[in-house]
Each structure stands twice: as C-alpha cells, then as structure tokens.
C-alpha cells in the first residue's frame, strides 16, 4: 500500500483536477446561458386586470399581514356613477355613505360629489385589504375601472409569490421592474 501511495495520489490528483476544471466549465456554461438570455432589470409580480376574476385570495394569501395587493381606481375609465356598483351594496336602500350601504368591508372607498350627476370614488390604501369585492361589483355592472394591482411600495417581491400560487385564473405574472404596473387602458405590449 505504502509503495504505490505516490501513484494513487497522482491519479487522484489528476481526477480531482479534471473534475475541478469540468465544474468550473459547467458554471461558466450556466453563466453564459443566463448572460445570453440577458435581462438587465429585475422582475416583479403584477396582476393582469383582464385575467383577474376578483376572488378574495389577494386579501388572505399574501405573506404580509396587510396584503401588498390593493384596489386601484383607473379614473379615465370610471363612469363617475351616482349609483356606483363598486361602492354600494346591490340592495342599498339609499345612495348615501354608511356601513349598511357600502360594499367595502373597511370603508376604504371615499365618495366625493363633483357635479350633477357625477361622483368621484377614491381608494384609501391604508384601509384597503385587497378583498376585491368592489372590483367584482364594478366589473359586473360598471365600467370595470376598479382593478387589483400589486403595490410595489409594499410588495416584498418574494421569489415565489404566495398569492400567485393561490390565484385561480393565473392572473399573476412577472413583469420588468421598470414597467411594474398593468393598468387598464394602457398598452401592455
């Protein structure tokens, strides 16, 4: 054993050096492959408002206690309706603010009179929990100007978004960080 120790070590060294070189080459190939599909900007999560089915998962599945997904009002699409189907309960007796008439469970939507017969509806993001009840109402009976969006001042940008996993309509997708919103009425191509 002792006399052929030198030879064994040499063979082992040769093998080790060969494997070492091969490993380095493999890493180089991975680096090359990812450089070829080069992407300079980071990717962030966003909701395609046209694919969103306004379930309530955004409110409950986010890893943050207060979900990073909020309702966003696209004013240019909004009809400024007096009877806003995203603001009032379908059976609201009077068109006046109040918990018994409002759809939003936290009262996050404020209603402001502009001129006859138009009212402006604004979302208070500190109150919005992302339950999409208003989005559902607006999409069903209104113009669909209320949409769900990932708010990037809150989002942690998890590698695997927990809401994306739970999304029933595959509305979540990764978008480049320099164009991080998918707002209705804008060209997303």
């Amino acid at each position: 054993m002792a006399e052929d120790k030198k030879r064994t070590i040499n063979r082992r060294h040769f093998l080790r050096d060969g494997l070492w070189g091969a490993s380095l080459a493999a890493l180089g190939m991975v680096a090359g492959a990812s450089a070829r599909k080069r992407r300079d900007t980071d990717l962030v999560w966003q909701i395609d408002p046209y694919a969103c089915v306004s379930c309530t998962n955004c409110a409950t599945y986010c890893v943050l206690e207060n979900s990073a997904v909020k309702c966003v009002q696209i004013y240019s699409i909004c009809g400024y309706c007096d009877f806003c189907p995203g603001y009032f309960e379908p059976g609201a007796s009077v068109l006046k603010p109040g918990a018994e008439n409002e759809l939003c469970p936290t009262g996050a939507i404020s209603r402001k009179f502009i001129e006859e017969p138009y009212y402006e509806y604004t979302i208070d993001e500190t109150l919005c929990v992302g339950c999409a009840k208003c989005v559902k109402g607006c999409a069903a009976f209104g113009n669909g100007s209320l949409i769900m969006q990932v708010r990037h001042d809150r989002c942690l940008n998890c590698n695997e978004c927990a809401i994306a996993v739970a999304c029933p309509s595959a509305a979540f997708r990764r978008v480049p960080a320099d164009r991080p919103y998918l707002l209705k009425g804008e060209n997303h191509a």
Partner: protein, 431 residues
C-alpha cells in the same frame, strides 16, 4: 323561428358574459362642466435595481472576507461576527430574498422555460458561492448564508450524530434537490422558497405552518448542529461536491498534526475524520465482498428509484396549476362535483376548449413522468454510491476536516495546540 330565437338568446348571453369578464364600458366617461381635473392612479416604484447590485457586491465582499477569515486569519471570533452581519443583512434587512439556495430554481426554470430569463443579479447570487467553493471550500456556509447563520447562533449543546445516521438523513437533501429541480423545470412551483423554514422569522410575518417548522428546526438546532444545512439544504448538496474539489481546504492545524486527539470532539457537525490505520485482512475480505454486491446493486437502485419517481407522476403533476384545473374540470364534467371553484369558473369564462386543457395537462403529466425517471434515478444513484462509500477505506494519518461536510465554521481551530503555538509566535512577532 325557434332556432333564430335560440341564436339571438345565445348571442345575447355571450355578449353579457363578455361584458362580465371584460367589465366593458357601460357608462361613458363624464364630461365635466366645472372643469374638474381627473386624477391619475399613483404607481409607487419597486425597489430600484441599484440596490440589487449592492446586494451582489455585499455578497461578493462577504464571501471574500469569509474565505480570508477561514483560511488565513483562522479566527472563530471574526467568523462569528461576519455570521451575525450576514444574518442581519441577508436575513432581517433583505428579508431572506433573494438567496443563493432559492436562486437555484430560477436558474433551472430559465434553462427549461424559453420565455423566462433570470436577471443578472440572480445569476450572480447563484454562481458566486459555487465559484468561491471551488476555490476556498464552503466559506459561503461558514458565515454568509443567513439560513446557516440563524442555526449557528442557536447551537448551544451539540450532540454527536452517528455517521451512518448522518449519511442516511443526508439522502433527504438529495431528494429535496431533485424535487426542487423537477418542480422548477416544469414551471409548477418553487418548493425551496415555499418551504423555506426561516423566512417567516426574517420577515417577522408569515404562515403558521412554516413558523412552526422553522421553530422546530431551531429547537432541534440547539442540540444537533445546523439540521437544515446538513440534512435538507438542496444547495448544500451542490456545495458539498464542489467542496471536495476545492483548491484550498480547511485544516484543523495551521501546520502539522501531532495526533493529540484534542480536536476529536470539537466539531458539532461530525466533520472531523479520525486517523485510520490499515484494515485487518478479515475485514478487508468482508468489505470486498460487500463492495462487489453494492456495485451490482447500483443499477438496480437507479432503476428502482427511476420507476418509483415516475410512477408517482399522477401525484407530483398536481403541483402544476393546469393539471389541478384539468382534474377539477374533469370532476365537474363527469358530474362527480356539482359546484364550481373560482378556478373552474374562471376557466369556463375564458371560453377555452376543455379538450385542449386535458391535452395540456396530459403533456405536463408526461413531462413529470420523464422527470420522475431522471430524479428518481439520481436519488437511486446517490443511495448506491453512499452504500459503496461504506466499503471503501482510505488510509488517514492525521485528524482532518472532511472536505465535503466541513462547514468552515472555525470552531476546531482553538482546540489545536499547534494553533496556540502559531498565535503565540504571531503575537511575539508583532511585538
């Protein structure tokens, strides 16, 4: 007459459905007479890219410093300080994301999905620790990985784990790596991120299950050093193999081993190998017979693993949302389920063909079948090689840190009397 009525009703229903899905503009946008200016929605910007580059720079600096501390400075105290820094920066400040362990999945997905490309920073996070390991052993595990750091800090009462138990449990990490690659390659899930045990602690918020899982690992980690790193970490499995080949290695003694046995119990991770004298002739004969048997068993294990991996494809494929949706639609179509889910209702609203969905799902399942063969075969191969490793004997004269298992934490340095001689000499040299 009836037919045209039906057609009209059909078209009307379709139009209404389209309206429901698209939220068509039913009310024209207002024409304000008072000159009211419409606000536009705010779009707060995500974290800027420059911070991602700073993260990569910090990773690079931490890896270089860790390698220097382990191999040159040989100071446990400095390594510990760097561990705390990494835990604070990569753990609590960056909230554990992105980490090299999880970046493995992004790299795999970008290889298999032509539409997905990894940002350059993510590729750097995956590659840098591997390159450093090829040169300087597992300096990443020593003081840079936040997952390792949090476990290293709770290790108070180390208990030795028998070598065969350790080796057996480590098979879990290979299974985990295989599963992570399979699920990432098929675009189904990022399981490493989903079951990252310490992420909820870093974020200080998260699901109860993961919090309990992480808490249990930390509790075990008080007695059994770094259980996640040793028995589960899928990235650690790659680092192990690279560490075997590394140019520089961690040595217990700064110069020569005097076989004083003082370092024997120094390692809480069972990575110190004792000197081994020659085998007796009888043992040698038994081991040779066993070796022959295990070499013959190797192809059997690979085939068995592959077959098992492939035959669970009906279960594993359900990780993919399309397969789950197809299963659900099938239940509804056959009348086994009478209600609808959000997913199935959403699918029906899109008006896509059910047959096409079934086709997609069966394609994905076929990919899981093939992937199951490869992953299962890989696990079988690892198990076989582990068995073969049991019958291979290597002569060792000195106490050595195992190239693969050594996490380069530096705990053993101060146990070595030669190290104390070196420190004395260094001190005198300075004075």
């Amino acid at each position: 007459m009836i037919r045209s009525a039906c057609a009209i009703t059909g078209i009307a229903v379709l139009l209404i459905l389209c309206g429901f899905v698209r939220g068509a503009e039913r009310f024209p946008p207002p024409d304000f007479e008072t000159g009211h200016q419409m606000p536009s929605p705010t779009t707060p910007h995500p974290r800027q890219d420059v911070y991602e580059y700073i993260d990569v720079a910090v990773l690079l600096a931490a890896l270089a410093l860790s390698s220097y501390l382990v191999l040159k400075k040989r100071s446990r105290r400095a390594i510990f300080a760097l561990t705390v820094f990494s835990l604070l920066y990569f753990g609590f400040w960056r909230k554990g994301c992105i980490c090299p362990v999880g970046a493995t999945q992004n790299i795999v997905l970008s290889i298999f999905d032509p539409t997905y490309a990894v940002p350059i920073t993510v590729a750097a996070f995956f590659l840098l620790p591997l390159v450093f390991t090829l040169f300087f052993a597992r300096s990443f595990c020593a003081a840079v990985c936040p997952l390792g750091a949090i476990q290293d800090l709770v290790l108070c009462k180390p208990v030795a784990v028998p070598g065969w138990v350790e080796s057996g449990l480590r098979l879990l990490a290979y299974v985990y790596l295989g599963a992570a690659v399979l699920f990432a390659a098929t675009g189904s899930a990022f399981v490493i991120c989903r079951y990252d045990p310490f992420i909820s602690i870093f974020r200080m918020t998260g699901g109860l299950n993961i919090l309990v899982f992480g808490g249990c690992l930390l509790l075990i980690g008080v007695f059994i050093g770094r259980p996640y790193c040793r028995f589960l970490c899928p990235y650690g499995v790659i680092l192990r193999q690279f560490s075997r080949l590394s140019r520089r290695r961690v040595t217990i003694t700064p110069d020569e081993c005097i076989r004083c046995k003082l370092c024997e119990d120094a390692c809480p991770f069972g990575a110190i190998k004792k000197p081994a004298a020659q085998w007796s002739t009888q043992d040698y004969a038994v081991a040779r017979k066993r070796l022959g048997l295990f070499i013959l068993a190797l192809p059997v294990l690979i085939l068995a693993g592959g077959w098992a991996g492939s035959s669970v494809r009906a279960v594993t494929a359900r990780a993919h949302p399309t397969v789950r949706l197809a299963d659900r639609i099938y239940l509804e179509e056959t009348g086994a389920a009478t209600d609808t889910t959000d997913a199935s209702a959403g699918f029906r609203a899109t008006g896509k063909q059910i047959e096409q969905l079934y086709q997609e799902a069966s394609n994905i399942q076929a990919r899981f079948g093939l992937g199951g063969w490869i992953v299962g075969g890989f696990v079988g191969l690892v198990a076989g090689l582990k068995l073969i490793g049991l019958c291979v004997w290597r002569r060792r004269d000195d106490y050595e840190a195992d190239r693969a298992s050594c996490l380069a934490c530096g705990r053993c340095f101060e146990y070595c009397p030669r190290e104390h001689v070196r420190l004395e000499a260094a001190k005198e040299g300075k004075i």
